[in-house]
Symmetry: C2
Subunit: 197 residues, 2 copies
């Protein structure tokens, strides 16, 4: 095995477990056993149990950032909806990562400089988008409020979809894409740049 392999194996096993069962039942010893290695071996790659969550979180933010940037590049006409789709899509496709990224009890972002960096980067994507959408004459407080509203809408939709209650209540609104577009439309924030050019 190459030197990185055990680390990657543990990480992958942990992400898969979290995607299915949530982060709380994750057992350090269990992932070690799943990797076919003694219960202490992972300690040479992660300082703590928390260290695993930090690594997953960093990996998650990197995937997250590239997903958002890719979506914005792919749909410049309606960046708000594009971002919403990318946010929710990432959460659903990478539950294992997403479930960890916003859980300060599992890993405190400020504890790890690398994690802080990638988390800041993803926030910059959002603010840049809002600044672009609202135009140069927008006040700082408007930009803040709009960014907060977009973030909250995307984050709420993602967590409600992942944690389940939404589908049970609302019922299926067709495809994921259709749901997101309908919500974006009802929120009043979609297509702010050009209307049906």
């Amino acid at each position: 095995m190459s030197p990185q392999t055990l680390r990657e194996t543990v990480l992958k096993a942990a992400v898969d477990y979290i995607a299915d069962h949530g982060p709380d039942g994750l057992s350090f010893r269990q992932v070690a056993q799943a990797a076919g290695v003694s219960h202490q071996a992972p300690y040479h790659h992660f300082t703590d149990r928390k260290g695993i969550f930090e690594a997953i979180s960093i990996e998650g933010y990197e995937l997250f950032n590239s997903a958002m940037l890719g979506a914005l590049a792919g749909n410049p006409d309606d960046p708000t909806t594009a971002l919403l789709e990318a946010y929710v899509g990432f959460a659903l496709d990478h539950r294992g990562h997403f479930r960890v990224m916003f859980r300060p009890d599992l890993c405190m972002i400020s504890d790890n400089p690398e994690l802080q960096r990638v988390a800041d980067a993803s926030f910059d994507v959002l603010v840049d988008l809002v600044r672009d959408v609202l135009g140069p004459k927008a006040s700082i407080s408007d930009i803040r409020a709009r960014a907060t509203a977009m973030w909250a809408l995307a984050h709420g939709l993602a967590t409600l979809l992942i944690d389940g209650p939404l589908e049970n209540k609302i019922g299926r609104i067709g495809s994921r894409r259709a749901l997101i577009r309908a919500v974006a439309g009802q929120s009043g924030m979609a297509t702010p740049k050009k209307r049906k050019r």
Copy 2:
């Protein structure tokens, strides 16, 4: 001690702990010890560790529902903002409950009929509000999309505030009330009934 007291003591200790440290580190034995009782005593009031979370969740939904209904009654002119304020306010004022209510890995709503009932009730409050705001001519799919958007916005704002990243990034936008109003304004959903009557 009256027969209910240990149950209430354990519940209160658990909620307080969760509000401060999150639900995952909560220890059955620890709350028993905090209540000054043997490690097995709580088993006569809760079937499981999960049973504690179910009880907290039920209590939470009851508080939640009355908070939302009270807010709607108190501000009939702008029910959307009122609901948003009540939702976020409840999350911040009852973190211990809120952190448990939307965590299916801790307690599955469908496992407990009583829990299912109070959770359904809180969802009905939201749908009734949306139906009222959009008027009788609104289609079912519009109602669904609007309810989803409102729920997502409120839920996202609440979880982002509780889990911390928002304040670090956005900075303080004055009071909680001002933040919520600004966000509601930036989403297109506020004051849909009458504009500055």
